[in-house]
Symmetry: C2
């Protein structure tokens, strides 16, 4: 996705499309993985040497508030960030560390046996071995 299209998405959500904001959001949209702040920082300072981690935190928190990005808590102590806010699950491979997205059909969401509870968000996290690592283990 081009920066201009990213700007448009920001404007549509009531966020002023500032240069560094758009850069960070564009990065998340295009990479499609689930980077931590460190990775975002190291990747982006190549093209934007004055970018700081504080700004990355600021922007991410803003984008989360505007529901353009979601936090993923699948790694140890750090947060991962995902520009795909549609309902989907995450699989973390315990061996290679990669995180895989998978879709969950609406009809497949487990019923929550909690009477009168109001559900806002669902997070489905799976851990185990991905195909590659499961195969490698057999050898």
């Amino acid at each position: 996705m081009r920066i201009e299209d990213t700007n448009k998405l920001l404007i549509d959500s009531g966020v002023r499309p500032l240069r560094k904001r758009a850069l960070i959001y564009n990065y998340l949209l295009n990479k499609g993985n689930h980077p931590n702040v460190e990775t975002i920082y190291l990747d982006l300072i190549k093209k934007e040497p004055t970018l700081s981690k504080t700004t990355i935190y600021n922007v991410l928190n803003l984008l989360i508030e505007k529901n353009l990005v979601q936090m993923i808590k699948i790694e140890g102590t750090e947060m991962r960030y995902d520009a795909d806010v549609s309902p989907h699950g995450h699989f973390k491979c315990a061996s290679c560390g990669r995180i895989f997205d998978f879709s969950i059909d609406e009809s497949e969401h487990p019923k929550i046996p909690l009477e009168g509870f109001e559900i806002h968000q669902r997070h489905y996290y799976i851990s185990g071995y991905c195909t590659d690592c499961a195969k490698a283990k057999l050898n």
Copy 2:
């Protein structure tokens, strides 16, 4: 559960049933909630004044390794700990902060559309408002 029974569980999992280990595991088993390290510490030093947080971290990491305890990452940056390692979900109330357990029937687990992946753990986290807070909001 009595300490003697906790000791037995530890031995069955190949863990030497040391005094402070058993104390911490027994606490988690009996409380049945999802305390953070701070809460465990404050509760247990009442009866075991020489207990340190370092030991709590050490013991928890050992119990996790032995699959007697699982980490729950539903709060901001801190870890919560749960001695119930059977498959179940957690609901976090965004208003009062309480965490509720709920069971998920085996047949209800969503199918994971990832060919050849080996699943070890499933975490299902829901956030929203609990019944009490949902009602309070209406007033």
